[in-house]
């Protein structure tokens, strides 16, 4: 799975750099960077073991940072690689993804853009507690954003996206158990502020 994704990322890069060669001839800007930080907001509903299994809902907020480095293919469309870090409460994940940015509007001073990242969250920097083994998983992150700034210049961005991150945890067994593992799906609203140039 990871290999496939890395391969996909490689392909995208190769494709983008070829395209960049062509773009060099025109005067248009071709390198795009968008660096953002924000929060991943979500909720979780679960039966609370310590309270008679009554259903409980908790709010969740995690910090996220990411940077997109890509190639402006044409006036609207840019593609590249997104690398980030997400501090979930029980997992520190590093998504590496293929990213797409598409300007939905051309002329207005405030541009609406669509954003999408698809990749894999790695656990490179996650440190497991004794007996736990956390593995990352697929990540998708589509959404919309607004860009305030000059055409082809530096801009301020705000983005609202949906982020789905999978993970799997093997856990040490408790009372009378012989196996214990958890499938995690983080479904979050990602609210991000950033700069692009």
């Amino acid at each position: 799975m990871r290999r496939k994704i890395l391969f996909l990322i490689g392909l995208t890069l190769a494709g983008a750099s070829l395209r960049a060669q062509e773009l060099l001839d025109t005067k248009r800007k071709f390198y795009v960077n968008q660096t953002e930080f924000g929060i991943l907001a979500g909720r979780v509903k679960y039966p609370n073991l310590y309270n008679g299994n009554q259903e409980q809902v908790d709010n969740k907020f995690s910090l996220t940072v990411q940077t997109f480095n890509g190639i402006q293919i044409d006036e609207r469309f840019a593609t590249g690689i997104t690398v980030g870090m997400d501090w979930y409460k029980a997992a520190l994940l590093n998504p590496v993804a293929v990213g797409f940015r598409y300007n939905l509007t051309k002329k207005s001073p405030v541009k609406l853009f669509a954003t999408a990242d698809v990749g894999y969250g790695f656990t490179w920097f996650h440190d497991d507690s004794e007996g736990f083994d956390t593995k990352g998983g697929l990540m998708i992150n589509p959404g919309l954003g607004l860009k305030y700034g000059r055409k082809n210049g530096a801009a301020f961005t705000i983005a609202m996206t949906y982020k789905r991150q999978e993970a799997r945890v093997n856990k040490p067994v408790l009372w009378d158990q012989t196996e214990r593992s958890e499938e995690r799906i983080y479904n979050r609203l990602a609210l991000r502020l950033g700069m692009s140039f």
């Binding site: 907001a41 029980a90 405030v110 004794e130 949906y162 040490p172 214990r180 479904n187």
Partner: protein
């Protein structure tokens, strides 16, 4: 397009995601006990030979000549013709309800059947027959963490059946409770603690008559004219000078949480939850306790070579230990055993010694092979670590190594301990 409608569109899209919920499902496999009452009268009619069947929950193993006896926990014994280790053949299945341990003298196989000791004539392994039964010689026992007790007054056994239940529950995605070791231990209880482990190529069990070889976690041992069995808190002797007519001979109560017995030369090494007991057995009819080597609470198979006892302690057993280690104990003075050195291990189970090679099962961490010639530097002489197997028990027969794990029964060519060659494998749940 003006920016206001853009903003509205933007905010609307956000609302779609607003109700995002993390979904976390924890899957657990849990052991469940259900209590059943069995009639002794009926159980005693059920010993019979059946056609070979698949291994499902293999327990202890025992080797005698070219035959292998593999216990199917609580069900009976697989009799396997192992004259060609590369292709073992199931001969028959001897059904013995409540069976956990095996010992063989000449052509007579001794097996426990809940409270009874059964002697079975295996002259013809394809159709063994019960020749003798000693009733109510064992009072209680344990299989896979479930306890049974006999009620002699009504002639019943109260047993706990074990089921493994898979359940999936919703959790809050962050519960990171570390398992408390004590509980962790109590739980994992059965990780087949009473599973056969195997040991001793030094073939301690023989001497007088021909017996086979059991494991380091066996509760049965044969020495001279006696069959020694250990219960939770006793040592029971049976006189088998006439193998077909075992006689209940003596009962010695001591300690508690006793797990294993390993006879070596004229001593008995008994592993319990609290330590290792050493009995002087120079008069086989009258074992005398010489000493006990107390360590933490952890149970442990023991094997012995010369003056050194190799004791493993692990967590996740009925004994709820907090250590995972291999202890070398000097037993040259059996009245006062002294620790030589402790070595950290991952999760040691059964072990077997073919001096100077020590085979040590590490459960899901595989099998480790050590050269133990240097008793202070065992960890520096790890010959090999085979990780791609699940190892619970091992018996070294010199050139061959028998290994049993969750997923099956393996035989290896161990003429070069650094490079074990797989001869055959009997997977659990499959015929060969």
């Amino acid at each position: 397009m003006k920016s206001t409608p853009l903003h509205i569109l933007f905010v609307l899209s956000a609302v779609l995601f607003w109700s995002c919920n993390d979904q976390c499902k924890e899957t657990r496999v849990t052991r469940r006990f259900s209590t059943v009452t069995l009639s002794l009268m009926e159980l005693r009619t059920l010993v019979k030979t059946e056609s070979p069947r698949l291994m499902e929950k293999p327990g202890k193993m025992y080797v005698k000549g070219k035959y292998l006896f593999v216990n199917e926990i609580k069900e009976g014994i697989h009799i396997i013709d192992n004259s060609n280790p590369s292709s073992p053949k199931f001969v028959s299945f001897l059904r013995i309800p409540g069976n956990g341990d095996i010992a063989v003298r000449d052509n007579i196989l001794y097996a426990d059947s809940y409270s009874d000791l059964v002697a079975v004539d295996i002259t013809n392994p394809s159709s063994p027959s019960e020749v003798e039964r000693l009733k109510n010689v064992f009072v209680s026992g344990q299989f896979e963490g479930g306890n049974w007790v006999v009620n002699e007054s009504v002639g019943s056994i109260t047993d706990q059946n074990v089921d493994y239940v898979t359940e999936t529950v919703t959790v809050n995605c962050e519960e990171n409770v570390s398992p408390n070791f004590w509980w962790g231990g109590m739980l994992v209880f059965a990780d087949r603690a009473f599973f056969g482990s195997a040991a001793s190529s030094s073939a301690p069990q023989s001497a007088g008559g021909s017996s086979g070889q059991a494991g380091s976690m066996s509760r049965f041992a044969i020495h001279n004219q006696f069959l020694y069995t250990v219960g939770q808190n006793n040592l029971r002797l049976f006189n088998i000078s006439n193998p077909k007519k075992p006689v209940d001979f003596k009962n010695i109560n001591f300690g508690w949480g006793i797990e294993t017995i390993f006879p070596y030369q004229n001593k008995l090494f008994i592993g319990s939850a609290t330590g290792m007991f050493i009995f002087d057995n120079s008069d086989p009819s009258n074992p005398v306790q010489l000493s006990s080597f107390q360590h933490g609470r952890a149970c442990d198979p023991v094997v012995v070579h010369d003056d050194i006892a190799y004791v493993t302690l692990r967590t996740g057993t009925a004994c709820a230990g907090t250590q995972n280690q291999l202890d070398l104990v000097d037993v040259s003075n059996a009245s006062s055993p002294q620790l030589i050195k402790s070595y950290q291990m991952e999760n040691p189970h059964g072990l077997s010694i073919d001096f100077p090679t020590l085979y040590l099962c590490e459960g899901e961490h595989g099998l480790k092979v050590f050269d133990v010639a240097d008793k202070f530097g065992v960890d520096k002489h790890q010959l090999a670590h085979f990780k791609d197997m699940d190892a619970y028990d091992v018996i070294s027969l010199g050139k061959t190594l028998l290994l049993i794990g969750k997923d099956g029964f393996y035989q290896y060519d161990s003429s070069n301990p650094k490079d074990l060659k797989l001869l055959s494998k009997i997977p659990v749940g499959k015929a060969i």
